[in-house]
Amino acid sequence: MIEKPVISAAEAAKMVGEGAVVHVGGFLACGSPLGILAALADLGTRNLTLVCNDTAVLDERNGRITGVAPLVKNRQFRKMIVSHIGTNPESQRQMNAGETEVVLVPQGTLAERVRAAGCGLGGVLTATGLGTEVQEGKQVVQVRGRTFLVEEALPGDVALIKAKKADKAGNLVYSKTARNFNPLMAMACALVIAEVEEIVEIGQIDPDQVHTPSILVDYLVKA
């Protein structure tokens, strides 16, 4: 198997170009690539579009700032496509002030739109969001007597994901609920960078236990 380059978090951050659509794994920062995100915050790359479950936690009174929250605070995102911003008041402030475009997407729809992008599908049909603001501007179709919204695929330029373990070829194993959106995003983006806690020799991960096959991963970053 071909070994994947192991790069630093700073080198990974430099691969995220100005204006890129960036998929970031994690659920309230559980399973987010924290090292790469910190480097990207330091670098200050702007006009990014974020695709992520949420905008993590920004609680300045208690000194808690997690996941993508430092990048939100730095105003590095032009647009944020997320399911939840309730634990990051700065996201809400930027949205209400019209400083950042925020598109709220139901969590399951977000997962399926990302999955569809990674699987070569144009989108998915779902009943989620019918009769709500989510329906606005979308096509409604009938299939076998049921009504669905057409939700388009959501591809990205760069996926910044987090896994527990990789082998040198880039096969990934996630840990517990830190898996969440990571395997879906690994399929949906042109460039995939995985931050991992441990890198082992090729052959040391049981092929039956691989969550994301190596061919989907371009670079590894040691957490």
Partner: protein, 221 residues
């Protein structure tokens, strides 16, 4: 004269009695999470958490938290023996595919048509819907859990929601701290009243069409 006293505990106690052994249940953040504390010992439910697990266990002891194991509120949790982890597509496939028997959600407003609003107060509070829209659209039974009255004295049960909807006509059951209601499309049907409240008091203190079921009965926590 009956005085209204908020009791989240009574809501949680009554909802916990809805389940039967083997039910796959998703509990929302906040008040619905309390329900897990009151499931009777003879009933075994399987808790699903939309961030990617079934077999949700209690919070870990202090010092035994695992950074990779949280619930959908980001709080540390444990997994029961026999539980399983999966990604977000599988998690919502389980939800949307009708494999969750019952979901319990919090409420900003719920109306007699079964419409639910719980994710947004425009211009004021916009946390986002998270997984709530999928949960209401996909679960077999949707239970709305809410205190009966606002601080202003108006009820959370409405004729028609005025806030942006989380889902259209998705709610089956509403449990408040005064009673248990079924959504009948054109009205709420009161099935149980929680003493000391009476059916008359409940009808009078609900800003919606409430009809008392012929077999309506008292329930005590």
């Amino acid at each position: 004269m009956i005085e209204y006293v908020e009791s989240k505990e009574n809501i949680a106690r009554r909802i916990a009695r809805i389940f039967k052994t083997g039910d796959v249940v998703n509990l929302g953040i906040g008040l619905p999470t309390l329900v897990a504390n009151y499931v009777p010992p003879e009933v075994t439910v399987i808790l699903q958490s939309e961030n990617g697990l079934i077999g949700l266990g209690p919070a870990p002891e202090k010092g035994r938290e695992d950074k990779d194991l949280t619930n959908a509120g980001g709080m540390p949790v444990t997994l029961l023996t026999g539980g399983a982890y999966f990604d977000s597509a599988m998690s919502f496939g389980i939800i949307r595919g009708g494999h969750v028997d019952c979901t319990v959600l919090g409420v900003l407003e719920v109306d007699q048509e079964g419409n639910l609003a719980n994710y947004k107060i425009p211009g004021k509070m916009v946390p986002g819907m998270g997984g709530a829209m999928d949960l209401v659209a996909g679960s077999k039974v949707v239970v709305a859990a809410t205190t009966h009255l606002e601080k202003t004295g108006s009820s959370k049960l409405k004729r028609r929601c005025t806030l942006p909807l989380t889902a259209e006509r998705g709610v089956d059951i509403v449990v408040t701290d005064v009673g248990y209601f079924e959504v009948k499309g054109s009205h709420f049907e009161l099935k149980e009243y929680f003493e000391p409240y009476t059916p008359d008091w409940i009808v009078e203190h609900t800003d919606a069409d409430v009809r008392v079921a012929p077999d309506c009965r008292p329930w005590r926590a």
